[in-house]
């Protein structure tokens, strides 16, 4: 219903790992309603419209806390996306004396800030992954040094779809007295996350993927073990609180939320999270993994197609990366778009090291990422299209 109204023509959109599409109608409506009826500045004035805008921010923190099992909603700090959240956590926390452990599966939004920190003296170690892209938790302990402060881990790989063994890594990290930063860009909204149980200290999320919201809004959850006196903000400025002081507030979330926020984006995430909760993360996952299973099975039966990532669906999210023998990913993706109206992403997906790990560097892969609104029928059409292209190749 919702999707038929939104789809134009016969497109098959399977690039949800980049940005999900279509969005639930309720998300679009919530954003329009905000723009039309309550687009005042939150936290800056005391009038009813300003209060309503502030309420949207709080309700969203509250819904996100419920989804991720975070105890205090004020520990959810809004940022412009996962990239900003990861930059805040890494640059705010790590000094030139610190050592950080990360994995070979990180997105550039982790790797580049880390390399920048390395240039100013910080030390970085990389936890190896198996060829199907799973970080080897048992090797983590060996990498820990006296000055290790943080372990950073991509929860769901945007390249292979592999899920990291979060609770194992969480336990080792906590036992060693270190902090754990989780990049949940690919998992928040489509894979169960429990901030408390998984012993997470910092979690970055983005609004435009499985939370089904708009682009340009995301956030960082800051756990109780993080000393916020030692977590520097990326920027300082107006917060609407403590206006008579020239120093940045030292409390959450204001310390990290300077400047007028993207309230319309937050209104969109709020509706997105409510949609996800109504369907339930579990049933969304079941749907996406059914589609993923159909794709993998179809591709594996197709001659000349190589499928990357873990064999078991349980170890995956809804992402399938492939290559067709003798054809560059960009060419495959272009054929799929032009001839079949199938929208995918080719290339390196901002994670060069992950491609080295799975043996798909530098050409990259063609990535299919079905979402909550895709159907099994569409998966069959995709398999037929890939078959045709592979036969030509």
């Amino acid at each position: 219903m919702e999707r038929d109204e939104l789809y134009s023509g016969k497109l098959i959109y399977v690039d949800n790992a980049a940005s999900s599409w279509p969005k639930p109608r309720s998300v679009i409506k919530a954003m329009c309603d905000f723009m039309e009826k309550a687009c005042a500045n939150p936290g800056r004035s005391g009038h009813r419209m300003s209060i309503e805008a502030s309420r949207i921010l709080y309700n969203t923190r509250n819904e996100l806390s419920d989804l991720l099992n975070v105890r205090d909603p004020l520990r959810v700090v809004f940022c412009s996306n996962a990239t900003e959240a990861l930059n805040l956590a890494l640059k705010g926390l790590i000094t030139e004396k610190d050592h950080v452990i990360t994995t070979a599966l990180e997105h550039n939004s982790v790797m580049r800030p880390l390399r920048e920190l390395e240039n100013s003296g910080a030390q970085i170690s990389i936890l190896k992954c198996s060829q199907d892209g799973i970080p080897q938790a048992q090797d983590l302990e060996n990498l820990i040094r006296k000055n290790t402060k943080l372990v950073v881990i991509n929860h769901g790989s945007n390249v292979t779809g592999a899920i990291a063994p979060l609770s194992e890594i969480g336990k080792i990290t906590r036992d060693a007295g270190l902090l754990l930063l989780v990049d949940a860009a690919q998992t928040a909204g489509c894979f169960p996350i429990d901030f408390e149980r998984d012993q997470i200290d910092l979690l970055a999320f983005t609004g435009h993927k499985s939370l089904l919201g708009p682009q340009g809004i995301g956030g960082l959850v800051i756990g109780e073990r993080v000393d916020i006196e030692r977590l520097k903000p990326l920027k300082t400025g107006g917060t609407g609180s403590r206006s008579e002081y020239e120093h940045q507030p030292d409390f959450l979330p204001d310390k990290y939320e300077s400047g007028t926020p993207n309230t319309v984006g937050v209104a969109g995430i709020l509706a997105g999270v409510q949609f996800v909760k109504k369907r339930s993360v579990e049933s969304i996952r079941e749907h996406e993994m059914k589609l993923t299973g159909v794709l993998i099975e179809g591709f594996e039966k197709t001659g000349g197609v190589r499928v990357y990532g873990p064999k078991s669906l349980e170890k995956r999210i809804g992402i399938v990366s492939i290559n067709i023998d003798g054809m560059p990913p960009s060419e495959v993706s272009f054929c799929l778009d032009r001839e079949f109206g199938i929208l995918t992403r080719p290339g390196l997906h901002c994670a060069p090291l992950a491609h080295k790990t799975i043996g798909a560097f530098p050409q990259g892969t063609v990535r299919f990422s079905p979402g909550v609104f895709n159907t099994e029928e569409e998966m069959t059409t995709i398999i037929e299209a890939v078959c045709q292209i592979a036969r030509r190749g």
Binding site: G46, R55, L57, Y58, R242
Partner: protein
Amino acid sequence: MPGEADRTGEEKLIALFRSTNEAMKAESVLKEAHLPITLRPVPKHISSDCGVCVEFPPDVRENVVLVLKENKIQFFEITPI
């Protein structure tokens, strides 16, 4: 709504917070506890760090304090208006 207290002639108290974000959390947890509170702008004659505060009748003062403390929400003072 502001002004209601004057109309009924009944004294009201307000609790002040460090930020609107904390005032929002206060509103949410106090309403969940079914306490008769209203979010309102801070009256002009009172200086505060943020523009909104929570208003309530004196007889629920203890409960309000309890709920705020339980939820670890910092509040500055409770004063009559």
